[in-house]
Symmetry: C2
Subunit: 190 residues, 2 copies
């Protein structure tokens, strides 16, 4: 059986990574979602191995030290990371896997797993991105300005990616990513 | 405007390059067909610049000497070749172009135009290819054996291509190639 491919879907905050990722998984039933490890406590209804792999702080630090994470980050006092083992087992079983992640995390994954296919999701324009960030209605102007400046810095990191897909419409962005998945499976080097 | 991309559709004789190429052009209206230059005489109904660019032997040799052909070959006393000028003008106008060509010609194009996207069309199996070659009903056993041995040698050259597409069904081969076209346009390096 042919090995699966790891697709990394990334891009600036507010671009719609989560929505596109969910839509893609709805369309491609055998596309496996990369489950993260975390040290935060499970919330009601969250299942270990489905929503997250729940780890103690010691277990997580141990995974870091043994190079068992493709990337990791700390966020409001908790660790989050991508277990290498889950990714590799899924690929060996012949399934593709999709990892939805912010830009810094994607660049960490690229160092540890360069054979992944890196897709950058772009907003149709910076104005549109600002509208989307503002549209959440929870941020003040300083926060919006800061997030826009981070987004511009992140867009400048696009050169490290294989593909760029504009998220103008969820459906057309999904179709382009589906095409990328089909094309990658046709590559002779695989 | 973004530049177009040159797609080279190649593969062993009998694999169905012509049929797939015609079907693709039917589905993608702005995919331009690469018109060849030839020294053979026009047949009834053939138009210069549409079916071929008709050239005298001197004109053709002149094009060869001035590196104006991406590839060329001699076949039953006439020259055939791919004019570089037509390809480059089409790409600059923003249109993609498809060049349907046998394997040796494709490898010549790769030397002169490495930025092309090289797609190898594969038969579902060697038995299937033999059936297709035999199915034309015009060849004796020695010819069939010879063509099969050439086909096997050509399949061994697949490593020089970017993509391999199995021509199991015309429609699914076309869909894979359409995906390759979409994906190539999403490449960050373009």
């Amino acid at each position: 059986m042919a090995k699966g491919i790891l697709f990394i879907l990334s891009g600036p905050s507010g671009v719609g990574k989560g929505t596109v990722c969910t839509a893609l998984r709805g369309k491609i039933s055998d596309l496996v979602y990369s489950v993260s490890a975390t040290t935060r406590s499970p919330r009601l209804g969250e299942e270990d191995g489905v929503n997250y792999f729940f780890k103690t702080r010691d277990q997580f630090l141990n995974m870091m030290q043994n190079d068992q994470l493709l990337e990791h980050a700390e966020y409001v006092g908790n660790y989050y990371g991508t277990p290498r083992d889950f990714v590799e087992k899924t690929l060996l079983s012949g399934n593709d896997i999709i990892l939805e992640i912010e830009v810094q995390g994607a660049l960490q994954v690229k160092e540890k797993f360069p054979e992944g296919v890196f897709i950058f999701l772009l907003p149709p324009s910076l104005d549109e991105l600002k509208d989307r960030i503002r549209g959440r209605g929870t941020e003040n102007q300083a926060t919006i300005d800061h997030r826009m400046s981070v987004a511009v810095d992140e867009i400048n990191l696009m050169e490290h990616y294989d593909y760029a897909v504009v998220n103008d419409q969820i459906d057309s962005a999904c179709k382009r990513i589906e095409s990328i998945i089909v094309a990658e499976h046709c590559k002779v080097k695989r």
